[in-house]
């Protein structure tokens, strides 16, 4: 019997050495390299099997006014507000360095209407060197005013528009702030999405005990970390039961056991978000922990356990 269970994972045609990704916006590979040196981006010490960029938008954004974070019991609320260099800034200043990462590159994108998404996907596809796209649909469509990811018809319409533009996998990042995420997931699948990822953060707020006013500069934000794990696990389970495309599970993953739980609930790969803030190498720790759990349970192949808790 082999000592180390294989964590190699095929995901949307990508070969991942580890089924652990980072959640978008929770690990900046370029900043990590600047702080910790080249070791941070080397094979073997880069903490993830695939890298998801912070969400980029067409125009540069500076993000929300401070304060942007608030610690909660077993979690945090953030109102970062998607600061990014914009499409052109990303292409010029970040994509070349991100292409050099030792793992597949998934670029997260957001726009305020379908044409905006289409322009970004078109431009990024032409630039090359990107292995997949993640569509962050937790934003309102400026024309309809509806949050794309809260409406099956908006999600399906977006996919209809984007699907012809790229051969690359399209991953739809689902919001947990809906009653039935599986309906959105089904619409994404019907529209031609290659995978769905969930959960994004849960709407949340915090009151400053001194001023009695909202603490966060933006008034409210999104909750993440172990505090949301049971909710995320149930949503992953519900979505995985409904769709046949692969699911990226996330929400409060801190260790091998929690990653294992998401796979049992039906996830093909698992993403680590807030835990990266507690340890820059959290992704490696989760991967090793998962290996350990599989070894203890005598499991050699992740496929054998995936989704077994559905019924």
């Amino acid at each position: 019997m082999s000592d180390t269970p294989s964590l190699r994972t095929e995901f949307c045609g990508l070969e991942l050495g580890s089924p652990i990704l980072n959640g978008s916006g929770t690990f900046d590979a370029i900043a990590a390299r600047r702080v910790f040196g080249d070791e941070a981006v080397r094979v073997g010490s880069f903490p993830f099997g695939g890298y998801v960029s912070k969400t980029i938008t067409e125009e540069a954004r500076v993000g929300n006014p401070p304060f942007r974070t608030w610690e909660t019991p077993a979690g945090m609320i953030n109102s970062i507000g998607l600061p990014n260099l914009g499409l052109e800034g990303f292409l010029e200043a970040q994509l070349p360095e991100l292409r050099e990462l030792p793992v597949p590159l998934i670029v997260s994108v957001m726009a305020s209407d379908r044409d905006g998404f289409a322009r970004i996907i078109g431009r990024l596809s032409a630039a090359g060197g990107i292995d997949a796209f993640e569509l962050n649909v937790s934003c309102p469509n400026v024309h309809s005013g509806l949050i794309v990811g809260e409406r099956p018809e908006e999600t399906a319409g977006l996919l209809d528009r984007l699907r012809p533009l790229t051969e690359r996998p399209l991953i739809v990042k689902l919001t947990p702030n809906v009653a039935s995420p599986e309906l959105i997931a089904s619409a994404a699948e019907a529209g031609g999405a290659d995978a769905v990822s969930l959960v994004n953060t849960l709407k949340a707020t915090a009151i400053d005990p001194d001023s009695d006013r909202p603490w966060l500069g933006a008034g409210s934000g999104g909750l993440s970390g172990p505090a949301i794990r049971p909710i995320a696990l149930q949503q992953v389970r519900a979505v995985a039961a409904e769709v046949s495309i692969p699911v990226v599970g996330m929400g409060g993953v801190t260790d091998g056991q929690s990653a294992y739980d998401f796979i049992r609930a039906g996830a093909t790969v698992v993403a680590v978000g807030t835990e990266n803030f507690r340890d820059p190498l959290a992704g490696l720790g989760v991967m090793r922990g998962l290996e350990e759990v599989l070894r203890e349970k005598g499991v050699e192949d992740l496929g054998a356990i995936r989704g077994n808790t559905l019924s």
Partner: protein
């Protein structure tokens, strides 16, 4: 050119607490870091109780960014001293640690203080202005200035004598003036002491370094701008990660955007930001 930052080990590591004691209103946590490089004054660490926070309330959850107040290379590593003010669940948990416990450390992180000549053109000496727990990184700075043979004057302020800590031990007594807001003496504020220094003759050849509560820092920043004296501020902000991952520690900069205090700071030039009170009610 700011000094080159020492390269921190990738990831967090366990470090033993070698001592802890009360020093006035503060608690001192001494930690032996056997893996990291010697930090530079102004740098900080992300610190968490290990193996993990034990709090049954689920807080603290994130590590806390703490500047080191003193660092000394010993045979078995770097002995780090952190000055703690118990302001919330994180600092409370760290303050409860004693010899034999362990912490998780990530760092040293962030930008260090520059030499006086980099802060104010031609400056050979320094004025150090600290308030409250903000004296911690300044203690490390002052010590390094002494080692480099650079003259400095230190001005420290506290709400009241009972709220002070660490002064004698970390700063010695020479060239240090302390102001208490509660006292009958005037001046009562450290910024009053600074005003006098800035009104002096030799001020053009001085660099100011400051750390303390946001209101004090903003006053120092504006006073130095008015006197045309360069100033470096060590700022504080809620920080989730400390290494540029979360974009949480935003501080407004003059071009309309924000800097990430953990990697673009915590030490910043006074003219690199628009306010030291980011996030505070105006």
């Amino acid at each position: 050119m700011p000094p080159e930052r020492p390269l921190p080990p990738l990831g967090r590591r366990l470090a033993p607490v070698t001592a802890s004691w009360a020093d006035g209103a503060y608690r001192v946590l001494e930690v032996s870091d056997e893996e990291g490089p010697e930090p530079l004054p102004g740098q900080f660490y992300m610190v968490t109780e290990a193996p993990d926070w034990e709090g049954s309330s689920g807080r603290p959850y994130l590590p806390r960014a703490i500047s080191f107040a003193a660092a000394e290379v010993r045979g078995d590593g770097v002995s780090l001293e952190f000055l703690l003010d118990e302001v919330g669940p994180g600092t409370r948990a760290l303050s409860a640690l004693t010899e034999g416990s362990q912490v998780w450390l990530t760092g040293p992180l962030g930008s260090p203080f520059s030499d006086p000549g980099e802060v104010t053109e031609g400056a050979l000496g320094a004025v150090i202005v600290g308030g409250g727990i903000g004296i911690a990184p300044l203690a490390a700075l002052r010590r390094s200035l002494v080692q480099k043979g650079i003259a400095s004057r230190t001005l420290l302020g506290f709400r009241e004598p009972a709220a002070a800590g660490g002064v004698d031990r970390l700063f010695g007594c020479e060239e240090v003036r302390v102001a208490y807001e509660s006292g009958d003496d005037s001046p009562a504020r450290v910024t009053d002491l600074l005003a006098r220094v800035l009104a002096g003759d030799s001020v053009g050849a001085t660099a100011v370094y400051s750390c303390g509560p946001p209101g004090m820092l903003e006053a120092v920043r504006q006073m130095c701008a008015g006197a045309d004296v360069g100033v470096e501020l060590a700022l504080e902000s809620p920080m989730a990660c400390g290494y540029g991952a979360c974009f949480g520690c935003a501080v407004p900069k003059p071009d309309g955007g924000f800097l990430r205090l953990c990697i673009d700071g915590p030490v910043v030039r006074g003219d690199a930001i628009t306010t030291a009170c980011a996030g505070e009610a105006p």
